[in-house]
Amino acid sequence: MTEQPPPAPLLSVEDLTVDFGAPHVAVKAVRGVSFAVNVGEIVGIVGESGSGKSVTCRAVLGLLPWMARVGGRVSFDGRDLLQLSEAEMRRVRGRHISMIFQNPSSHLDPLMTIGRHVAEPLRMHFGYGAARARDAAIQMLRDVRIRDPELRVDSHPHELSGGMKQRAMIASAIACEPRLLLADEPTTALDVTVQARILELLKDLNRQRGLSIVLISHDLGVIAEICDRVVVMRNGVVVEQGPTREIINVPSHAYTRLLIDSQPSRLSQQHGKTARPAAVATTSEPLLAVDDLSVEFASARGLLGLLRGSEKASVKAVDAVSFDVRRGESFGIVGESGSGKSTIARAITRLIDPSGGRITFRGASVHDLKGETLSAYRRAVQMVFQSPYDALNPRMTVEETIAEPMIRHRLADRSGARKRTAALMAMVELPAELAGRRPRQLSGGQCQRVSIARALALSPEVLIADEITSALDVTIQAQILSLLRRLRETQGLTTLYISHDLAVVRMFCDRVAVFRSGQLVEIGAVEEVLARPRHDYTRRLIASAPRLEAATASEEGARDMDTGSAWKGSHG
């Protein structure tokens, strides 16, 4: 890439600054960011929340709210985009530079067909007639590999899956053959197998059409998968940039190193298998047994249905599932959205009632528990929930939240609960001065620590963790996971760890059960399942997980790419 005089970059961002708010109290979201994107290149911008990566991207397209002040230069194809008028900018957007967003469901108009979404930019920029635009849209949908494009063109967004919607959004974005695509976390809301296919599509578009891409992601694995170069951002500043392989193999900045070391796959390498009480897990008796469990959700019939006596329609969320959790082990449940993994957790904690089968705890059926025995079960089996903010009552302070279970279960009086709350906060590494804060005044990671402390307040034997790190930044995730690992060892907890992320499960669990569409697909020791998956789906799941190592492998392919000649126009 360094031979001959370097060609002028397609996009060059120089010393970009973005401030929000009045001058004296301005929040500096982006401070002096510079990077360039060459023709035919995929550049990744990686950073955690608050790093300014999305703001940078929006500044390029002039899509920031009016109170933002933008400084610096953004040259695209020789023009400074920041100097363009709004009318001129509109001719750039969608025509020369377009953008796709994180959540395809909320970025597609629910009242518009997929075809119109794709056709709209063609009609706006090229003045296509309705029939011609429709034909072009069908062709675009075929190009992004949507099956039966002739039928799908008339579908509304709700009729498509998340992955299909993202494909449709990509089709709409590249309809006018733009030269640059800004992709802001395009796969974050998608399942990992779908993510792999979308990334593959982006890469193909890049190769076949010479489409330059800026891929924004919090996930270094995703970036490593397809990007030629990486820009690492933190707190509005570029801390490091360079070829992907170099950045990942020999990061020079401490933050980049932290980011790489926080990847779950790296964590398991660091920690090794030292702490695994594997022998205990295989020999001890089952503590919690799930036997032929089914959960159905009935859709509401309404008054008319009730009068007509129509059949209740129901969805099987969990279908005849059986497994044991043994004392002291860490049991992983892995699956994509809709696999029923959270439903199982909720059935175990008796938040929902199963439609069939049974769950036994120490030999006693969980569903027959009442009164005091139910309370005792609640104390023994505790759960930590997914979203850091939603799992805490917004009106209660940290101290009230953690002390409440002890007081309600009469395990302590007020002063005793207060003392134990302080001890619990220390245990989950929360600074004591946060005791009086409410959830809104805490960070996501701190909220999750409060949730863990609250669950531990009842000294449970089993802790169920339902995707507790999926909403957190990767460096925070690493902290929470190591906290959980430590608690497991010191408190002798049996854990049920639910996740969509195989790497996290590999690091944390002894045994794993893989779920798909409410059914148990495969179960076994983590190493066994991940190294020698027997089921096809497990194999696909493992293959789909983005890996840092991909950067090394994809280097060859990236070099072969002929950037200029791949550019072709099929219409327009």
Binding site: E48, S49, G50, L303, R346, T349, R350, L351, L374, S375, R378, R379, Q382, M383, F385, Q386, S387, P388, D390, A391, L392, N393, P394, R395, E404, P405, R408, H409, R437, R440, Q441, L442, S443, G444, G445, Q446, S451, R454, L458, A471, L472, D473, T475, I476
Partner: protein
Amino acid sequence: MSDEPAAFASMSRKVPFEIALGAAILAAWVILAIGAPVFAGADPNAIDLLAILQPPSLNHPFGTDHLGRDVFARVVFGARIDVWMGVAGVLPPLVIGVTVGLFSGYFGGLLDTVMMRLVDITVAFPFFILVIAIVGMLGPGLGNYFIALALVAWVSYARLIRAEVVVLKNAEYIQAARALGYHPLYIVLRHVLPNAISPIVVYAMSDAVLVILAGASLGFLGLGAQPPTAEWGVMIADGQPYVIDAWWICFFPGLAAVTLGLGFLLVSDGLAHALKVTS
């Protein structure tokens, strides 16, 4: 998800101007109502046939009515009834509605179906017509007005809070509270209610305006407070025949009703903004 606290949540500590102004107006009316004998300076029901239909003067700041009664004194004493109306006309339906909506939303099932059909039936009739019909049946008077309100107005509160609760009960912290083994009653009162109540508070304030104006209208129709009670609606009704020559008889009670309503509305509006940030 950032690992820095959401800084904007706790930024606006000071009381917004709207609430402060609204509260000041309400406080002024409450003080006037309580201290009516002191502030009025005259007996509101003292008839002085030698001084009828006098325009505002130093002696009678708001003038006198067709029986020579001091309008200012009557407005001040009227505040006792109208301010009380804003409280007594709002609180019973609020308590009934919130209780019904809270439990029916949280527990669902048959209770919910029955209660919500009852709500539907009540809502099917125009609010005013229903209130007037009930007062007509029970007989005129403020007490019966409050009973009619309690019977009719609770449905709005029930619907409003039920909608909140139905969403809220799936929140993870409510699930967490269940998983922690708290009693359902405790969960409803300690975790659901405080987080569902803010739209109710806001609505109650604007409902107070409605209740006061409706009460005044009822007074005007002769169904509310009975003469010679000094009540703003009754006063406006009484002054109606003289409105061309003696505008002050209707104007000042009307102005009083407007300012009291404005006070409630300002507080309601301000609360709507303030509560949105924290909840």
